[in-house]
């Protein structure tokens, strides 16, 4: 049987299906159908559902030294631009590109060692080597972190802590409150600190 060169987008979908088989992901039916029809209208990136959280899979064949950096940059952008709160960046070994058939590609991918990194709103992750099973484990940990430590709560905590420190230091200068009030345009009668202070 002649070998076929598969595109990265196809490998992304096959990877997503392998992760899905392990109960961690849901691949949109339209994408699955595109692969089955051998259609060329696959998106560059794959958006899937990670236990209710939107997730992007961004995969590249590891053909050049610069690929790793460009992949990381793009994966970060997906999260920073709000495309999804989690992005799985995967570097595929170049030999994965060729296979006799789609089932063969799936078998090859299942036994391959991939270079992976999970970028989320909470963490930039680290590059690691692993199989599909390792990806599933990494995704599970990232998901738990993501739902357990809300980025908003963390950011509010950081700002609030800085504000409390600054406020304590500002209180040492008795005139500052009145000066700030004037700069902020807060009228005197708006002062309700006694009833609301906690």
């Amino acid at each position: 049987m002649p070998t076929v060169d598969f595109r990265e987008e196809v490998v992304n979908v096959v990877l997503a299906e392998l992760i899905e088989k392990r109960g961690m992901l849901s691949v949109p039916e339209t994408i699955r159908r595109s692969i089955a029809r051998r259609s060329r209208d696959l998106p560059d990136i794959l958006v899937a559902d990670l236990l209710g959280v939107r997730m992007v899979i961004e995969g590249r064949f590891n053909t050049a030294s610069a690929t790793r950096n460009s992949l990381l940059r793009d994966a970060r952008e997906r999260v920073e631009e709000g495309v999804s709160p989690v992005c799985l960046a995967v570097l595929y070994p170049p030999e994965l590109r060729s296979a006799d058939s789609l089932p063969q590609l799936k078998r090859n991918l299942e036994s391959a060692t991939l270079t992976i990194r999970v970028i989320s709103e909470n963490s930039d992750g680290e590059w690691a080597e692993g199989t599909v099973d390792d990806i599933v484990e990494t995704l599970r940990r990232s998901y738990e972190l993501l739902v357990g430590e809300d980025v908003v709560v963390a950011a509010v905590g950081e700002i609030a802590s800085g504000i409390e420190t600054a406020t304590d230091l500002f209180t040492r200068t008795p005139s500052l409150s009145e000066r700030f009030r004037a700069a902020l345009g807060i009228p005197e009668e708006a002062d309700g600190s006694e009833e609301e202070e906690d």
Binding site: V152, T167, L169, P174
Partner: protein, 148 residues
Amino acid sequence: MQDPKVLRVASLTLVNAMIFQQVLASQDSRVESLNESIQKKDVAESLFRAWNAILNIDYVPIFTTANGIMQELVGIPDADNALKALAEAALRITSRRAALRHDLMGRIYHRLLTDAKYFGAFYTTVPAAAASKAYARSICYADRLGCP
């Protein structure tokens, strides 16, 4: 007598401007980075200057009030330590760029401003904003004017 609420609102205004300064600095070489500003000898004065330079470009709604507060801090003992504490918080936020997405920043400010430690009176709550919008639209329809 010192009013902690006023001091907190002022601090929030300052940290907001610091976050914005750092974001601008990453995109515009004319803007001094926050890290650079707080490394200088007189932090209040260097931030005051940096924000004046930003005001010469634009961003008036963010930096005018903040710079008015900063002006009061020039030459005040302990001001530099307070500003450094705020800048450290701002830098931690900006280092996690996902936290800067506009929808997240909105949620961050909602959380902070609905805290009783701040002046709720100066904050338009989401229900109030929704009611105002609905009212404005109803007037719009009644007068047969084009609605936003």
